[in-house]
């Protein structure tokens, strides 16, 4: 991260349009990202997934819940069903397309919960220091003692399995990484001259945190959030696969994969295809995360 003062995190048009010699931090980062071939592949995959999710009703060849009684467990290539049907005769392509909505929704909400909670804890712990820091970071240690999926399962056990609870569970499990990384950033930033200067002219703590420290901690948060999307999507699929996530008949990739397990011998495509969809999406976010890491902060 550049150590110069950035008072605001917003991308202003002037900075974007400025010639390369005086281009802003974000413009430099974007230029570097564009040259990162793997990241661009990731971005393309993600853009494709987002388009599918947004325009699902227009793209999908069929209703994801409609049952074709004449063709249950039809293999890919069957007339009217490009990727075949599942065991009860629902179009798999349609269900995969609508499945993007579940995955993205869970990813965005869970990452939103994790990033806002973790960032707040990290900012407060790092800025306040002392006892507050100690208590908050020991809490982080406790949460880190539980494997991600185990804690998520325990939370689901309490809340009950459904889409909203899956988002909450994943969010409540994933915040610790943000807290640790942001705290580390704050410890460095709070001793910098521009923060001392702000304090000297009487800026309130809250304002220093929000206007000066947070914008300068954004780079690692963005990287973590991108990779976090991948983790959240896998976690949702895993919970749904175990029957603890999104409940049927809603098309979630994890649920679809689980439903196909009983038909592996006769119709292996029912389980294979959703797995490929999960893998492609996760690969997209991991690729982009890799590129962002290089572009935003070579030291990360």
């Amino acid at each position: 991260m550049r150590s110069s003062i950035r008072a605001s995190a917003t991308l202003d048009a002037a900075a974007m349009a400025a010639p390369a010699a005086h281009e802003g931090y974000w413009a430099t980062a974007w230029r570097r990202l564009r040259r990162h071939r793997v990241a661009m592949v990731g971005l393309a995959i993600i853009a494709g997934i987002i388009l599918l999710a947004v325009f699902a009703p227009f793209i999908s060849p069929a209703d994801p819940l409609a049952i074709d009684y004449a063709h249950p467990a039809a293999p890919p290539g069957t007339a009217g069903h490009v990727l075949g049907t599942d065991a009860v005769g629902r179009d798999i392509l349609a269900r995969l397309i609508y499945g993007t909505r579940v995955s993205l929704q869970v990813g965005i909400v869970a990452v939103g919960i994790a990033a806002s909670l973790g960032t707040s804890v990290g900012l407060i712990a790092g800025y306040r220091g002392g006892l507050v820091d100690n208590l908050l970071m020991r809490t982080v240690d406790v949460f880190l003692a539980f494997p991600v999926i185990v804690l998520a399962i325990a939370i689901i056990a309490v809340l009950g399995p459904d889409l909203v609870n899956v988002m909450i569970a994943i969010g409540l499990v994933a915040w610790t990484t943000y807290a640790r990384v942001v705290r580390g950033q704050v410890l460095v930033l709070r001793e910098q001259d521009f923060v001392h200067a702000a304090r000297a002219i009487g800026t309130s703590d809250a304002r220093i945190i929000v206007r000066h420290i947070l914008p300068n901690s954004l780079a690692p948060i963005i990287v973590l959030a991108t990779v976090g999307m991948a983790t959240a999507i896998i976690a949702e699929a895993a919970l749904s696969f175990l029957g603890l996530g999104v409940q049927p008949p809603t098309p979630s990739w994890g649920t679809m994969l689980n439903e196909g397990r009983g038909f592996l011998r006769t119709a292996p495509h029912i389980s294979t295809l959703p797995g490929l969809a999960i893998m492609l999406t996760v690969l997209g976010f991991n690729f982009l995360g890799d590129g962002l890491r290089d572009a935003l902060d070579p030291r990360l």
Partner: protein
């Protein structure tokens, strides 16, 4: 060294407290009266509920309940299963060996693949082997383990019929003991054949991570002066790689392996469900479905404790293999 271990053990105490608090809170957060959940809504008379509340200690303050919970925990008492009325600790102890066996096998499989591939990738940087290794590792990181498990069952159990699709026969250690005492390998072969697919499923993700790490760690070490010195002395290449480079490159790998051990335990929950492996993960999932909360609580607690013990073990090993580290 002794002082270091003592200090790390003392640091574990607040962590253990925190873990028990989280686990205790989870059980108290369940909506509804635990007694009603336990005996079912249909056969609740107010007298019966009040009596059971007294028996379970639920009529006391929450802080009293927590202290009593800790007291029982200290004696190894994790409560009683609502489903089978068996002690939770016994249910867990019966199944723990299966989970440990699976986890260790997964770790062995992943290291057996990852370290050689990582070393070769580093020695032949940017070669076809390196590129192939990198691509496979990236795919491995992005692949959901439960999907891999289902695909392995499809290929090796259903299509080729080489390995059993699910279940566990005997412990591998028991099979080994039979081989040594009676000379009959049949039991060991059956045990191992059941273990292969679950172990590969669970270990694949770790293998991908460790491959990447071994490669980068080796690349860094190979660039150091002492490696160049070894080469200048005319030592054979194999000795430089194995003795001088790999030994040093292993330090960060040991850390990651320790940290990932906990993740493997978590992953075992999923793998055990796919392969009907009779371990604590499958117990946890079944208990959630049956709303058998004391068992869920016990398993979660057990996994967290095993995990922090593993982290401690890693710190100690770390200090042993790297004399520079003493955590002053």
């Amino acid at each position: 060294m002794g002082r270091f271990i003592v200090r790390r053990l003392l640091a574990m105490i607040p962590l253990l407290f925190g873990i028990t608090l989280v686990v205790f809170t989870i059980l108290r957060l369940i909506p509804g009266d635990p007694v009603v959940i336990m005996i079912g809504a249909e056969n609740t008379s107010p007298d019966e509920v009040a009596r059971l509340r007294g028996v379970l200690g639920l009529d006391q303050g929450i802080h009293v309940q927590y202290v009593k919970f800790l007291g029982r925990l200290a004696r190894g008492d994790l409560g009683v299963s609502l489903g089978s009325a068996e002690p939770v600790s016994r249910l867990i102890w019966e199944r723990l060996p299966a989970t440990v066996e699976l986890t260790l096998a997964a770790m062995a499989v992943s290291l057996a693949i990852a370290i050689p591939v990582g070393v070769i990738s580093a020695i032949r940087k940017y070669s076809a082997t390196d590129t192939a290794g990198t691509v496979v590792a990236l795919l491995g990181i992005s692949m959901p383990s439960f999907w891999l498990g289902v695909m392995l069952i499809f290929l090796f159990a259903l299509r080729l019929g080489w390995l059993p699709a699910s279940g566990r026969s005997e412990a591998v250690s028991a099979g080994l003991a039979t081989l040594l005492t009676t000379g009959s390998p049949a039991m060991l072969i059956t045990a191992v054949s059941h273990l292969i697919l679950p172990a590969v499923t669970l270990g694949a993700g770790l293998a991908a991570v460790v491959t990447r790490l071994t490669r980068s760690s080796m690349l860094e070490v190979i660039g150091h002066d002492f490696v160049r010195t070894a080469r200048a002395k005319g030592l054979p290449g194999r000795r430089i790689i194995l003795h001088h480079s790999l030994r040093n490159a292993l330090i960060p790998i040991v850390t990651v392996i320790g940290l990932e051990f906990g993740a493997l335990l978590g992953g075992a929950v999923i793998t055990e469900t796919i392969f009907a492996w009779p371990g604590i993960g499958r117990l946890a999932i079944r208990s959630i479905v049956q709303r058998d909360f004391p068992v869920v609580q016990g398993v979660v607690l057990m996994i967290a404790v095993v995990r922090i013990c593993a982290n401690l073990a890693v710190d100690v090993v770390y200090a042993l293999i790297d004399p520079r580290i003493r955590y002053a």
